[in-house]
């Protein structure tokens, strides 16, 4: 252990940083690339993701003896890995965005309800928070899927519930502190309706904290979706997602590892990018959030 004084304590108040560090820049670039791929999937995909090329089954990617016909190789049905990857990125991002937004909306609304009504409503929301803390999310998701069967809408809604309690806690806490003495109390005593109070004043004021939480929840949702799909319980064929591609490629781990490696690398880089951006945003915008 060093005898030196604490760097934390000694550090002067942080001044404005010049710009995002290189890793974060990389994160933004990668994310932009992923978004572009998802949006332009139909234009840039070389083949339909279900198209078979039976003469070129299990052909390796370029650099491992493959040809430009299938730059990332093909699977055992001769489907182009690049095309499938592009559509998988679209599916996974769509699910993750949808679920993140659902979670933020549901959680924030419940948090505001708890802060506004206090009493029983607040106790009920807190009990729900306890409830979701008592179940590992994967187990909850698996049971719901078992009971209800599988559909894309259900999957998105389910993943949307993933981090709702975090938003609820944040929204409740910040709304309570704004209401105690600050601008919310002032606006309330002007005679504003709750809609106006929360929509026009509280929400814009806590938006940055919520956005930071969303960037932290987003990679977790990608991981959850890919985990479920990997287990064969998430996105169902013929649809394809990054996780289901890995799960499917697992059968060919020894003979054709590229089927699995392409989506695996994409998952890791995407979650890494969003996590880096999220950490950076958190330090910048909201030092109080852990």
């Amino acid at each position: 252990m060093p005898e030196a004084p604490l760097p934390v304590a000694a550090a002067p108040p942080r001044t404005r940083r010049p710009g995002p560090p290189p890793l974060v820049v990389f994160g933004f670039c990668w994310l932009a690339l992923m978004l572009a791929v998802a949006l332009l999937a139909d234009l840039i995909s070389p083949y339909a993701y279900t198209a078979l090329d039976l003469r070129n089954r299990l052909s390796p990617p370029i650099g491992f003896g493959g040809t430009w016909l299938h730059p990332l190789g093909t699977d055992e049905l001769g489907r182009d890995v690049l095309a499938r990857l592009i559509y998988s990125i679209r599916t996974s991002l769509l699910i993750a965005f949808g679920a993140t937004i659902i979670g933020a909306v549901v959680g924030t609304t419940l948090g505001f309800l708890a802060a506004h009504f206090r009493g029983l409503v607040e106790q009920a929301v807190l009990a729900l928070v306890d409830f979701s803390a008592s179940l590992p999310f994967l187990i909850l998701a698996l049971s719901v899927l078992a009971f209800f069967g599988n559909s894309m809408v259900l999957l998105v809604c389910l993943l949307g519930l993933h981090a709702w309690e975090r938003y609820a806690r944040i929204a409740r806490g910040l709304a309570l502190s704004a209401g105690a003495q600050g601008y919310a109390a002032a606006v309330r005593q002007l005679g504003a309706s709750p809609w106006r109070l929360y929509g026009r004043h509280v929400l814009p004021n806590i938006a940055s904290t919520l956005i930071v939480s969303m960037t932290l929840a987003f990679p977790e949702i990608i991981l959850l979706e890919s985990g479920l799909s990997f287990l064969g319980l998430g996105v169902q064929p013929p649809e394809t997602s990054l996780g289901s591609m890995v799960g499917y490629g697992r059968e060919y781990l020894t003979r054709a590892p590229w089927i699995l490696l392409a989506p695996a690398v994409t998952i890791v880089l995407t979650t890494l990018s969003v996590s880096l951006i999220g950490d950076w945003l958190r330090d910048r915008l909201d030092p109080t959030l852990r």
Partner: protein
């Protein structure tokens, strides 16, 4: 008939809070306001002074109907207040407004002040778009801000300018009652006087009744027509500001007055003995008696009531009312 009722009359207000002492402890009851009666007349100002924690802000919230009292009643223009948060309560906000201590906290930092001054007009559906804009400009002028400052965000204004913006917002609907909770204590000393003068001018212009809460007796005297001194949730003395300031009747008022720095009156300061009051642990009898330099045995037993003296001053003190001979104070006896 309507004119007969005062603008605001509060009768025997009591507000208790349950304070939890620790995860293992049981909750302690704090009587923040313990039987306060007061009256605010139209166009007049009642000053409310007392040290921190004595329940001034709570009283302010109670008379505005922002919380319901546990006992007692508030009548505004002769009618009881609607329950907090109801539609009728919200509509009534156009008639009664509050000015907070911290202008930066009371303003939404994400909206320009002009939009915030226009907000009460939007909420209460007063005027069309153009009329509102004109009204905002007039209000800005009335509080001494420039029209172009409407586009500024709160953090781009100085402390005094912010409090002016808060005043403009509070006056937008021309309320009949304004409760100012320490409106100047977050401001620079040099600006305090400006804001207080502004308040007096605005009262002459808009004619609202004001409840002016402060812990600064001098500030209260400058703006008030009457002043009430509060100690531990109760009013202990009430009268004309000059009279109270020059000849305080209650020993606590005397201590407050003597604490005002005064050139050429050195050595006369009367320092309060004992601990600051704890509303969770009220002394028996007169709440002030443990710190009172003239407390007698009666003071520890029986709580004095607020009643007029022959000269018209309202005082709650056995000694000042001549019901007990001045004692030595219990601390002096113990020593």
């Amino acid at each position: 008939m309507r004119e007969a009722a005062p603008l605001l009359r509060a009768e025997g207000l009591v507000r208790r809070y349950a304070m939890r002492r620790g995860a293992f402890g049981r909750s302690v009851e704090v009587r923040a306001v313990a039987g306060v009666s007061l009256t605010v007349e139209r166009g007049r100002t009642l000053g409310l002074v007392g040290e921190s924690g004595c329940g001034k802000s709570t009283t302010g919230r109670l008379v505005l109907g922002m919380e319901a009292p546990d006992a007692g009643s508030v009548a505004f223009e002769g009618k009881p207040l609607p329950s907090p948060g109801s539609a009728a309560w919200r509509a009534q906000r156009a008639r009664m407004q509050m000015v907070f201590q911290d202008p930066l906290g009371a303003l939404d930092r994400r909206l320009p002040v002009g939009a915030q001054i226009a907000e009460p007009l939007e909420i209460h559906g007063i005027g069309g778009k153009a009329e509102r804009a004109a009204r905002v400009e007039a209000l800005l002028g009335a509080v001494g801000l420039r029209a172009d400052q409407a586009m500024r965000y709160p953090h781009e204004l100085s402390g005094g300018q912010r409090q002016r913006a808060v005043l403009a917002r509070a006056l937008a609907t021309e309320p009949a009652l304004l409760v100012c909770d320490e409106p100047i204590s977050a401001l620079d000393v040099s600006i305090q006087a400006q804001v207080m003068n502004l308040l007096v001018d605005l009262q002459a212009q808009f004619g609202m009744g004001v409840l002016f809460v402060s812990h600064d007796l001098r500030a209260v005297r400058q703006v008030s027509h009457r002043v009430a001194v509060m100690y531990l949730g109760q009013i202990v003395e009430e009268g004309e500001p000059d009279a109270v300031l020059h000849d305080p009747a209650h020993p606590y008022s005397r201590a407050l007055v003597s604490a005002i720095p005064h050139p050429g009156r050195a050595g006369q300061r009367m320092v309060l003995q004992g601990d600051p009051p704890n509303p969770a642990d009220r002394p028996s009898g007169c709440a002030f008696h443990p710190r009172c330099p003239v407390a007698s045995a009666l003071c520890a037993r029986e709580a004095p009531v607020l009643k007029p003296r022959p000269d018209g001053r309202l005082v709650a003190c056995h000694v000042a009312q001549g019901e007990a001979a001045p004692g030595q104070g219990i601390l002096a006896k113990a020593a």
